[in-house]
């Protein structure tokens, strides 16, 4: 009797989750399966031939892929470190404020509200070498003698896209950290103060340990988010100059839409997915351990 009721309740439960499950299958599993299937084909426009894992072999023996992987890792590492450092700094600043907190919070969140492609286009014009505001100000203040080709030199272009991604990505970390800071019991700070701890010691021995879980969550989520990011680089440099900013998603796009090699592009996509999945597993594991 009990068992049949339990089975019925289970069935009802399945019925409730079925629509969401079907929806996820349609928008996640089917595209993923299709992408994997495409990666096994040599696609020529509307016709295709099954080639097994030849696309993977081709991609993995291509210098462009390894170069892009290197650029992706450098880009992601730089961006995530900056997001975390600046995001935490801003969260501490906002947490300590007693006035204009809401206004500043909204102001700092603005870059996150702007669509990445729109933000990138704004920065593209701000950094324009001849007529851009950034060069105009730098020259006017005497910081540089001649306008800089922000997106025209490999090192500068890389630094520029990292800077713009930092501008975009900091609010997310700031928001998480701020939420975390507000959950730390005030008594811990008071106890530390009674023990004679200075500001740095309070941060080192009270704030950081309390934020450890959130720091792990934020950084792994940020890695996952940044490594698959296309918009900013796609708009600002399209991977140039000379491949200096060609991260994996940009290589994927260029292979598919400039090279018209959809099979290879799908293989790059699957490899990128594997990297993202590895970070996701790391995230789940780290989150479990921290809990």
């Amino acid at each position: 009797m009990r068992s049949s009721s339990w089975t019925r309740r289970r069935r009802v439960g399945y019925a409730f989750i079925a629509p969401v499950f079907l929806f996820l299958c349609a928008v996640v599993l089917f595209p993923l399966g299709h992408a994997f299937y495409t990666s096994l084909l040599r696609v020529r426009g509307l016709s295709s031939t099954f080639v097994g894992f030849a696309n993977y072999a081709r991609v993995l023996t291509d210098d462009a892929f390894w170069h892009s992987l290197g650029v992706s890792l450098a880009f992601t590492t730089s961006c995530v470190l900056l997001h975390m450092a600046i995001g935490l700094g801003l969260a501490l600043l906002l947490d300590g404020l007693r006035f204009a907190r809401t206004a500043l919070r909204i102001a700092f969140l603005t870059p996150w509200m702007v669509a990445p492609a729109v933000g990138a286009t704004i920065w593209l014009w701000l950094l324009e070498p001849q007529f851009g505001v950034v060069n105009y100000l730098l020259v006017a203040w005497g910081a540089v003698k001649a306008p800089l080709a922000w997106l025209g030199e490999p090192a500068l272009a890389f630094a520029s896209v990292v800077a713009v991604d930092t501008w975009r990505g900091v609010p997310f970390v700031m928001l998480l950290m701020l939420a975390g800071l507000q959950t730390i019991p005030r008594e811990q700070y008071e106890a530390a103060a009674i023990d004679g701890a200075d500001a740095w010691q309070r941060f080192r021995y009270v704030t950081l340990p309390n934020l450890r879980y959130l720091l792990v969550v934020a950084s792994t989520l940020d890695v996952i988010n940044t490594i698959r990011h296309y918009d900013i680089i796609g708009v600002m440099t399209a991977g140039g100059p000379a491949g200096a900013t060609e991260v994996l998603p940009v290589l994927l796009y260029n292979t598919a839409f400039r090279g018209n090699r959809f099979g290879e592009a799908a293989a790059i996509g699957v490899l990128l997915l594997a990297i993202v999945l590895a970070f996701s597993l790391l995230h789940i594991r780290a989150a479990r351990l921290e809990r």
Binding site: G45, G152, P154, P241, G243, R258, G259
Partner: protein, 418 residues
């Protein structure tokens, strides 16, 4: 009662069929140029007049930025939902099966209509002997100069440089404080490749062998010499800085703001700079690009209207293409957007003869090679591989030969893989 129900159902079905029959055919039209302000009045008028003459057909423009044009088309073509009328890299699109052969419609047209296009012009719209597009407009490239800046530098606008040596001498004189003679194009679009090809041809070089199975950028000494000279303009300080981000837009901005005195571009660039800076109207002159060999050809890009393979109404699409290719719109495009005619029956048109700049472009275009080059992977080679090599050479000029040798090997491999 049952019969009444049946009758009602039949009437409802008939009403639906009649309503569907009355729905106009909607043709989507996508080119990279519909978002260009100088062309907007022309295409709007073309559509309005076509729809008035053909009440059963509606033309819906697909507005898309130039750099996203191909991506959007390919994504739609893969989904078999591509706009019916498109202007795209014809060979690449035909090779990939995205376009419909037009021979059936073309051959059904009267001889008088077909004679309006020369076989040479039509050949640029063919792939494997089949016609995939009707050439609608073109653009011959020439050297465009700012008359005021030339005169200010003490140079004679009536004697523009004919050789590289003369051009180099002019370039030095046209360069001043925060101002340069020209702009070298190295941005990530195929405009970079167009200009590079012209410099190569101007030295008697070739970028490819005759049947396009081998790249010869470095293999051909004349080509390599041209590449070094052209890209060297940056190192010499006579070309604007940041060439790796300079494309059509940046180049015409620099020219309109009088930061550069000369640019290699087509007639349409004059409409763009006049729009950006009306003070320049009537202050430009054109000349053939300087060359080291006699009769060096320039480049004419041909834009042809095609019908996508998935178009459900190809007859209506062909009707619009024919309408758009008509004399009236050919004149309008030339007058308003500065796009050159592809029809050979319009050279004596008074509207063209009245425009001395256009007449000059037409004369320069008498010795031109058509673009894009006929390879099914041209879009990738032109916008990716060649541009990448140009960017690398601009960043490391001392490695130019090595970079273009690598390019030869890479592109040759791709051409042989097709």
């Amino acid at each position: 009662m049952r019969n009444i129900r049946k009758l009602a159902a039949a009437v409802a079905c008939l009403a639906c069929v009649a309503a569907a029959a009355q729905q106009p055919i909607v043709l989507q039209w996508q080119t990279a140029n519909l978002t260009e302000s100088q062309y907007e009045p022309v295409w709007k008028a073309t559509i309005a007049e076509f729809e008035a003459a053909n009440p059963g057909i509606k033309v819906e423009p697909v507005l898309v930025a130039r750099k996203d044009h191909w991506t959007k088309f390919v994504a739609a073509a893969q989904a078999k939902k591509a706009p019916c009328i498109v202007t795209v890299d014809l060979t690449t699109a035909a090779y990939n099966g995205y376009l419909m052969p037009l021979d059936k419609y073309w051959n059904a047209e009267p001889q008088e209509f077909r004679n309006a296009w020369s076989p040479a012009m039509l050949s640029a719209s063919k792939w494997k002997g089949q016609l995939y597009g009707l050439p609608i407009w073109g653009g011959t490239y020439a050297e465009i100069y700012n008359r005021d800046l030339v005169t200010k530098a003490g140079l004679d606008p009536n004697k523009p440089p004919k050789t590289w040596a003369e051009y180099a001498s002019w370039a030095k004189k046209l360069t001043g404080n925060d101002q340069w003679a020209t702009a070298v194009l190295g941005g990530k679009t195929d405009t970079t490749t167009r200009v590079l090809l012209m410099w190569i041809w101007s030295n008697g070089g070739e970028a490819f062998n005759a049947d396009m199975t081998e790249a010869t950028f470095a293999k051909n000494p004349k080509s390599l010499e041209a590449i070094k000279f052209y890209l060297g303009l940056v190192k010499d300080g006579v070309a604007a800085p940041a060439p790796t981000t300079t494309n059509y837009l940046e180049q015409t901005n620099l020219f309109a703001q009088q930061k550069i005195a000369t640019m290699r571009n087509a007639y349409w660039a004059i409409a763009k700079v006049n729009g950006d800076n009306p003070a320049l109207k009537g202050k430009v002159f054109v000349a053939p690009g300087p060359a080291n060999v006699p009769n060096a050809p320039t480049l004419t890009s041909v834009a042809a209207s095609s019908i996508s393979a998935s178009c459900p109404n190809p007859e209506a699409a062909w009707k619009f293409i024919k309408f758009d290719a008509g004399k009236k719109w050919t004149v309008e495009r030339a007058k308003v957007a500065n796009w050159m005619p592809t029809r050979n029956d319009m050279a004596d048109d008074p509207a063209f003869k009245a425009d001395p700049l256009l007449a000059q472009f037409v004369t320069i275009g008498n010795n031109a090679r058509s673009y894009p080059l006929p390879s099914p992977i041209w879009a990738e080679i032109a916008a990716n591989d060649i541009v990448d090599a140009v960017q690398r050479a601009l960043l490391s000029p001392e490695k130019t030969e090595e970079i273009f040798r690598d390019l030869d090997a890479k592109v040759t491999k791709k051409l042989k893989d097709v």
